[in-house]
Symmetry: C2
Subunit: 314 residues, 2 copies
């Protein structure tokens, strides 16, 4: 039998992404043993019930002891304090990674706390749905999705290789870029789309002329898509906007400028401007479909075994 | 055997909505006979191949002859000219309906052309996907969706009853409102969501710092939802914005105002404003789900018969 990819994996934060990783790692047998930490006792209990870890800990410090790979799956605003907390207990040569949707700020928050003998390999799997909590994880969430790695210059190549191999084993494709470029790309492909969805749902529910009940009743005309995106975790998203301020403000400025031009076209009855834009955007959709990024993740195949309870060690 | 609901139905425009109606009417046997007109000869041929009509006509005037119910399924900008064209050939007592996403402008465009012996019952099924053309129709598209009727004061109640019964037979729920209120409700639940999706996709594809290829590659972070909405038919949507100008500009003004406030919250690091909005919007999603409006239409059940070729009349 082949050795598992990792000796001991520690996942901190067992929400939608954390528990998706746990499901994938368990199904594929990618780790010899797994420790999980979550600040919520209920979450720890649920992870144990689901058989997704060998050991669960309320205290992150205890969870990292002995782990060769530690993945931080908490909101980006909590990364710094968490890194400070676990740093003294990291094993010599441990690889620390994360799944944060912002990279520059997260690297600045984590890096200063790590001991010289630990390796930081920041990662961002561009995947995830609007759900939260340990029960919302999906083993195949990362299949055919991109995982972006932003290792700081001088990072040990074997550490990068290890995190790449882990994500590839979970079905993802790997791309490397600088944290600054990552934050720009994600500002337009993820952060601004979320902000305008949140904003639209807010605007709609504040109207006096149209009731909230009507907005919900007739949401199949397009609004419902925004409500899905705007159902994403509030803490996670607050932290993203506070920690990718510059790139989000830059992209938002462009969005608003363009929207003002469209508003003017509507006011002046300039149908050509509208028609030309709407034709151009249709082409982008075709390219998203061709790139295999249009759909939801594939459902787990019918009859797939539920993750089995793991044997407790000694 | 029960009589079909309609004696002879005429559908003009066999795109996504028109061909969905044809599929539903055929499957449920709701019409004794069906005539279809489309300005495209290829579409007429395809509808005949699919067995969705008894007769197809390039010329709308010929298609309406003898029909007791005529449904106009063309972009709202074409409704007036179409009404003028068919009016002289309408049968005495014919009911004319439409599926336009705007109601005040469509009523103003159609009404003056109709002879006194025809009955106008404007309708808007709040359903539809981003697809176009006769092959994109879905028999169950209207199931558990709302169809809004906006009959002008004094409309014959039996005509309203007939169109209600038709939509109910196709699985829709009926709501009546004034055309003005319809246009406000749809401006926020459908028109502005489409406009900001089109705008976002346009902004994203115009960037110099992030390539179009990157935007597509990493679209699973939220952008892909906008690309779906922004793939909707350009002519249809140009016409919607040009014909619901006032309500769209009003809702867009509010959206932009609110977005500016969010932008300011991000710039000043006001996490509470963001968190409070994101918590409030999450609740709306739950209500959309509870109202049964969250999902795509149910797929046709496996093994459902393909629409059968209709017998040609003598």
């Amino acid at each position: 039998l082949a050795e598992p990819l990792l000796d001991r994996l520690c996942v901190i934060g067992a929400g939608h992404i954390g528990s998706s990783i746990l499901r994938a790692v368990n199904e594929q047998g990618l780790a010899g043993s797994i420790s999980v930490s979550d600040a919520s006792g209920a979450v720890c209990t649920r992870i144990a019930e689901l058989g997704l870890a060998d050991e669960t800990f309320l205290d992150a410090k205890e969870a990292v002891a002995g782990a060769d790979t530690v993945i931080l799956c908490v909101p980006v605003g909590q990364m710094g304090a968490l890194a400070a907390e676990i740093a003294p207990r990291l094993k010599d040569g441990a690889i620390v990674s994360d799944v944060g949707s912002v990279k520059s700020a997260v690297i600045s928050a984590i890096m200063p706390h790590l001991p010289p003998y630990a390796h930081l390999v920041p990662a961002h799997p561009v995947a995830g749905l609007e759900f939260s909590g340990p029960d919302s994880g999906i083993a195949r969430l990362f299949e055919n999705r991109w995982c972006i790695l932003t290792p700081p210059p001088g990072t040990n190549p074997r550490a990068v290789e290890c995190i790449s191999a882990l994500w590839q084993a979970m079905g993802a494709n790997i791309e490397l870029m600088t944290p600054e470029h990552h934050d720009l790309v994600l500002a337009i492909t993820s952060h601004v789309p979320h902000l305008i969805a949140y904003n639209l749902v807010g605007t709609a529910s504040d109207l006096e002329t149209v009731t909230e009940k009507e907005v919900i009743k007739y949401s199949a005309g397009g609004f419902r898509d925004s409500t899905r995106v705007a159902a994403s975790d509030p803490t996670m998203w607050r932290d993203i906007f506070l920690n990718n301020k510059e790139a989000v403000l830059e992209m938002l400025g462009r969005f608003s400028e363009d929207l003002t031009a469209l508003q003017r076209a509507i006011r002046w009855g300039d149908g050509d401007t509208l028609f030309n834009l709407f034709t151009r955007t249709r082409k982008i959709r075709r390219e998203v479909i061709e790139a295999g990024q249009a759909g939801l993740p594939p459902p787990d195949p019918p009859g797939a075994p539920a993750p089995r309870a793991r044997k407790k060690r000694g």
